[in-house]
């Protein structure tokens, strides 16, 4: 029976090619926009290299000092604060400290100038995250302790500086007139992975800044790897206790120290002022995004409902005959829903194609550095979900209307209200 419905659906769509075409266009365009937005979201906050194990990772990126007279100071966290209070946490499997936001280093190659984004990290950085090394190895904990001048480059920078990728290991790169030896080359990391993104990674001990500065605010962040996903709340609690134990920096000026360990998505929503609270305000952000997405779908759905109602009125005589021969309302509703979902699935396939094209365009334009957006399993699943939801949403009311047509009136041609 389903096969018959599908064949019927195909014939019905071909009957009015123009309106089928514009419906398909509307569905695919809407789906394209939604999928591109979701892809951007997924590639920023979903599990991708180097933050592959997002279910076991926590990020401490922001420090907020509440001022007595009102307002607050916000910024990344000081190295000494993290070293004393976060490295000593017992629950995480491993703790890594790194620079909070990348800085720029200038290198001169021949008669070209290269501006490289650089990030200072410790040795545990490579154990907490999953980078894809194409050559060489990362610098380890003892090398960082000795403040060795070693560097890890990404593929594109190695190619631009040395002309080769594998041959870059062991050679020297001069950044801001300081010499470093290249010890490893990794695959490019996209700008959307902002916690780990850089063109070149250097040991944090080679910095000229004072790592012992007792100021709670500084330029650093911490990434914690838990033994298992269930440990995350315990680590967050342990960190809150450590923050509560930390003495107020200047009790005459400040009243409170606020800092949270968030998961990857929470670290983004909390990036400005820690206003999100312990979970980073993720809940309210997801609700907002969901309601916006629904609103986005509502408009095309309502338009499709209109078109579908017209379509059913055209088929009034056919429906009248079927009802006269004993088809129940339920059967007719089922048939119409199948036809509508067939249309939306067609539109969905087109939308996936358009989205793939749009993402390829984004990659080519290099608007987000080193972006490698592509359709993965999650995005396709979301597409399927949206398409089914859309099909049911836009098909329910016309199907109901169709099933309510009186057989006698339909056969007489008086179906229009």
């Amino acid at each position: 029976m389903l096969l018959n419905y599908l064949k019927l659906a195909w014939k019905v769509l071909l009957r009015r090619k123009f309106f089928t075409a514009i419906s398909l266009f509307g569905i695919s365009f809407t789906l394209m926009i939604l999928l591109v937005v979701f892809a951007l979201f997924d590639y920023t906050a979903g599990p991708h290299r180097p933050e592959l194990r997002t279910d076991r990772l926590l990020f401490i990126t922001r420090m907020k000092l509440v001022v007595r007279t009102g307002g607050s100071s916000n910024g990344n966290v000081g190295y000494a604060f993290l070293d004393q209070r976060v490295r000593t946490l017992k629950t995480p499997e491993r703790v890594s400290l790194s620079q909070g936001f990348f800085s720029t280093a200038v290198a001169y190659v021949g008669d070209q100038r290269l501006k490289l984004d650089s990030k200072l990290t410790d040795g545990e950085f490579w154990q907490v995250l999953d980078f894809d090394f194409v050559a060489g190895r990362p610098y380890n904990v003892s090398e960082v302790r000795d403040a060795a001048h070693l560097a890890v480059l990404n593929e594109t920078s190695a190619r631009r500086y040395f002309g080769t990728v594998a041959g870059a290991v062991g050679r020297a790169v001069v950044l801001d007139a300081v010499r470093y030896q290249v010890v490893g080359v990794v695959r490019d990391v996209g700008l959307s992975r902002i916690n780990s993104y850089a063109d070149v990674w250097l040991p944090i001990t080679t910095t000229t800044r004072n790592l012992r500065d007792p100021n709670y605010m500084g330029g650093c962040q911490a990434i914690l790897l838990a033994r298992q996903a269930a440990d995350l709340p315990r680590i967050q609690d342990e960190y809150q206790q450590a923050v509560a134990r930390a003495p107020l920096p200047d009790p005459k000026v400040y009243t409170k120290v606020v800092s949270y360990a968030n998961d990857l998505l929470g670290s983004f929503t909390n990036r400005t002022g820690n206003e999100g609270g312990p979970d980073g305000g993720v809940g309210s952000l997801l609700r907002l995004l969901l309601s916006l997405g629904l609103l986005f779908l509502l408009l095309p759905a309502l338009n499709l409902i209109n078109i579908n109602v017209s379509r059913t009125l055209e088929r009034a005589s056919e429906i009248g005959v079927r009802k006269a021969f004993g088809a129940t309302a339920g059967e007719l509703v089922g048939q119409f829903l199948v036809e509508n979902i067939f249309l939306t699935v067609l539109g969905g396939v087109l939308g996936l194609g358009l989205a793939a094209g749009a993402l390829a365009l984004l990659n080519a334009s290099n608007f987000f550095a080193y972006s490698q957006f592509a359709l993965n399993g999650r995005i396709c699943a979301v597409a399927l979900g949206i398409v089914l939801f859309f099909g049911i949403l836009s098909g329910a009311y016309p199907a109901y209307k169709m099933s309510k047509l009186q057989a006698v009136k339909a056969l007489k041609g008086d179906a229009g209200t």
């Binding site: 123009f18 309106f19 514009i22 419906s23 266009f25 509307g26 365009f29 809407t30 926009i33 200038v106 001169y108 008669d111 070209q112 100038r113 801001d176 007139a177 986005f296 408009l299 095309p300 309502l302 338009n303 499709l304 209109n306 078109i307 109602v309 017209s310 009125l313 055209e314 041609g413 008086d414 229009g416 209200t417």
Partner: protein
């Protein structure tokens, strides 16, 4: 006929309420896009006032050097730079260089005259070489020269303003040269010349009055850590490396960072256009939906009124008349939606929101309304052809 159409559509407002709402939304977004577009275009057409090719922005960081020694080091840096082959001219400047993320502004008022309006203006501390570095054009008076070194320390500092500042400070059309103006800190400035324009914010920023305050070569208080350097055409990374190395080796602990103004301009353009870009995408989405909605409603309409249209044809209406009726109905529908949208859009110029000239809003409203009418007409073409194709005998027989 038109009154007839309006009555017809008004009676059917409940059924077409959704479409009117869509048109209203589309108009509001189209109006927003139009306003931004007209605003940016108008800014783009105003003259920039300077040339940014072959000009580099040099940032100096004295590190931990004590304040007292910094001026001497700055002199060394300037001397080395000016002696380097490939460097045409070097000017000291405050941090708000063209295309930077910094800005500095104050308010001026004329000291003499009866009508003394307060004029907000961008404020730049610059050395005398800036005219050569940036290619500034003067329309009255003179640029800074050696005479100003003596008066700089005096009560009234020398200043050059732009034509826009002159027009606002002296609305009666008097020349500003020789007059004195005062800022919010009660400092007095004597105007020695008028330049034509200077828009450091870039081509897309709103034109504002600007004023240059003289920084003498002996000044130790202002414009210490930013330099604008004009280099010979064709200078590239080699010269940049040489300048950076010279500064690093020749001075105790000073670091420099060099950026070409043309690169900074592209970065600023990118950031300015992101939000309008997103707005355009949302607008396209809404217009698409309006089109879809119009098609759907029209088709539904025509299907439901086959009998009525059949009667009209039987009574002698031509195909053209039927088409015109359908088109007319759709335009009336659009007008309803536009009417609601205009109510909202009118608030913008009436309340003077965003400090934008009312002319921009009116132009945007006209463009948005015209765009929607065009869209409605295009959408009505195919369905009206369908309606005109109804055979009266076939339509009436179905009753």
């Amino acid at each position: 006929m038109i009154r007839h159409l309006f009555t017809l559509m008004w009676n059917r407002k409940r059924a077409t309420g959704l479409l009117i709402l869509e048109i209203f939304l589309a108009f509001v977004v189209l109006f927003a896009v139009g306003s931004v577009g007209v605003y940016l275009r108008r800014n783009y057409q105003a003259p920039l006032g300077f040339a940014y090719d072959n000009v580099w922005h040099l940032d100096l960081d004295p590190g931990t050097q004590p304040r007292a020694e910094q001026f001497a080091t700055l002199q060394q840096v300037l001397q080395r730079l000016r002696g380097t082959a490939g460097v045409v001219s070097v000017a000291r400047s405050s941090g708000n260089t063209p295309f930077s993320t910094n800005d500095n502004s104050t308010e001026f008022r004329a000291k003499e005259g009866t009508d003394k309006p307060k004029v907000g203006s961008d404020f730049y501390y610059v050395g005398p070489e800036l005219r050569e570095v940036m290619g500034l054009r003067l329309v009255a008076g003179r640029w800074f020269d050696r005479r100003d070194e003596a008066t700089a320390a005096a009560r009234r500092r020398p200043m050059v303003i732009t034509e826009m500042a002159q027009a606002r400070l002296f609305p009666d059309g008097a020349s500003a040269v020789g007059k004195t103006i005062r800022d919010n800190d009660d400092d007095d400035y004597e105007i020695v010349g008028v330049a034509d324009s200077y828009r450091a914010g870039g081509e897309l920023s709103e034109p504002r009055p600007a004023a240059f305050s003289y920084v003498s070569p002996q000044d130790t208080a202002h414009a210490m850590f930013t330099l604008l350097v004009r280099v010979r055409p064709g200078s590239g990374a080699a010269l940049e490396k040489q300048l950076g190395d010279d500064i690093r080796t020749g001075t105790p602990g000073w670091i420099s960072s060099i950026d070409a103004l043309s690169e900074q301009r592209l970065t600023k353009l990118k950031y300015t256009l992101v939000l309008p870009g997103i707005l355009v995408i949302v607008c396209v989405f809404l217009l698409l939906n309006v089109a879809l909605g119009l098609f759907g409603v029209l088709w539904l309409n025509i299907n439901q009124r086959r009998g009525e249209l059949g009667v009209r044809r039987a009574m002698g209406a031509t195909a053209g008349a039927i088409s015109r009726q359908v088109l007319g109905e759709i335009l009336v529908l659009t007008t309803f939606g536009l009417g609601l949208g205009l109510l909202v859009a009118m608030q913008f110029p009436l309340l003077g929101l965003f400090d934008v000239a009312p002319g921009i809003y009116l132009t945007a409203m006209l463009l948005a309304a015209g765009g929607l009418y065009l869209l409605a007409t295009v959408c009505a073409l195919y369905p009206s052809r369908l309606a005109a194709g109804i055979q009266p005998a076939v339509a009436l027989r179905e009753e």
